[in-house]
Amino acid sequence: MNAILEFLHSDLFFMIWTTLAKSAGLLGVVLGMVSYTVYAERRVSSLMQDRLGPNRTGFPLSLLGFGIKDWSPILGGLGQPIADAVKLLLKEDFTPAYVKKFYYWIAPALGIAAAIISLAVIPFGSSIAGVPMVIANIGIGPLFIFAISSLGVYGIVLAGWSANSKYPFLGAIRSTSQLISYELALGLSVVPLFLIIGKLNLVEIVHYQVQNGWMLLPGITAGKLPTLSQIVCWIPILISFLVFTIAMFAETNRLPFDLPEAETELVGGYHTEYSSMKFALFFLGEYTAMITGSSLIITLFLGAWHFPGIPDGSMAGWPGVLWGLVNIGVFFTKVFAFLIFFIFIRWTLPRFRYDQLMKLGWIWLFEIALVNIFLTALIVAFVH
């Protein structure tokens, strides 16, 4: 009995339950965000194309006796993600007879698992009542994300291979080659950042940005004039930001790099043979990967949860908790803004041709990232 009580008061138990609570909360927020990103995607894309998009499926307010029409310009369409989810869950889950069953079943889970796991190291807030708002505060955050998120390609490759039909297979092959050529640029492009900051821990990187201004906007966000070294370092950081963002687009299979899916060429790409919730898992995985990617960009370049003038959650008592929540809000607002940017790009650019894609990856991005490292090293050696 005593042992149990002791355990309940121990730091270990505290850590366990706060971690579980954080994981559940983050998962809930992210999955909710995924469904509304899909909605935003459909809505924004249609507005850009002079259409209206899904503006009907509201909430049945008239059933609840509010006396409002279900279809209203404000709430209209906001029920769409829920309706879609219900539809996907209830649809027939058809497994074609010619697929390799085991891999066919495991592929969607792999795809989404990789995307969700890598969320664990993202610091999505400052701290609430002394609990840091990051699930796993490990020393090699970005490396962990790169390692795990590149596992996500296994989902695609297995899906393409096990489906035993040619379009998914082509999609899977494209995905593999795309991953190899962009993962390099992705990894190399952030090395300058680490050279400048000197840390690999995401929480400490954020801390550095809180003190010295965001990496990308050093002057305004720190509330003081940028130092000379910051101004000089800004050039490699801008390059690294561009390369990283482009590589992130490729990593998440978004247009203009959506060759693995390429609806117009490959039917549906790697998920052609999938239906119902298994298809939805790929969808979820893709959008979760988008969120992970944007969070990483925000964390590395745009100050994560920090916003000039908003204090962090280290104050005692309720103000601290409140500011902690505000910090989380800031973080997700930034992520959402970046997601909207993803959407803008998707509905603006046509798809790359395959050789253009390879050329861009190997000849441009890889080289630029490599040169950028040396440039930064020189700057750091002489100016910093």
């Binding site: 507005l47 850009m48 002079d50 259409r51 209206l52 803008f344 790009i345 650019l349 861009l360």
Partner: protein, 176 residues
Amino acid sequence: MAYQVPRPKLNFAEKIYLPSVIAGLKITLGHLWRMLRGKTHVCMQYPEEKWDSHLPPHYRGAPTLVSDEFGRTRCVACQLCEFICPPRAIRIKPGEIPTKDKFAKVEKFPEQFQIDMIRCIYCGLCEEVCPEQAIFLKKEYAITGTSRAAMMHQKEKLIEMGGIQPGVVNKWNEKK
């Protein structure tokens, strides 16, 4: 011989893609902005807004049975429409008009007349072929039902939808 796809020579600005990304964003965001200000003319919001008042007189909606000025259903159950209907949507069961009836001269009337609106293709051939001008395609187009039976328009429904339409066929009128 392999065919070489002619590729245009790109200059540096085109090769790094970024200027064209910005140019493209300008266009799409311009459309978005115009839409958000309500300047874009979007399509008609169907159930709330309809085009009904613009329908031309020859519009081919659902086929209906019309009645003459005496309230008699014009159809004489000649079954021509049943035969010409391409998807065979019409089923007619002819009946005989009793000799004491005012319209005994007409001899036949449709005892049953049904049009399967799941089958009907709104071609208007029935209207074309009818020697009595008894069947007309009216302007109703939103024919929906929750069951197959509901989509089967029976005689009563067809007559009700058709209404009275005085026409040029006066051969059953003694005085004309």
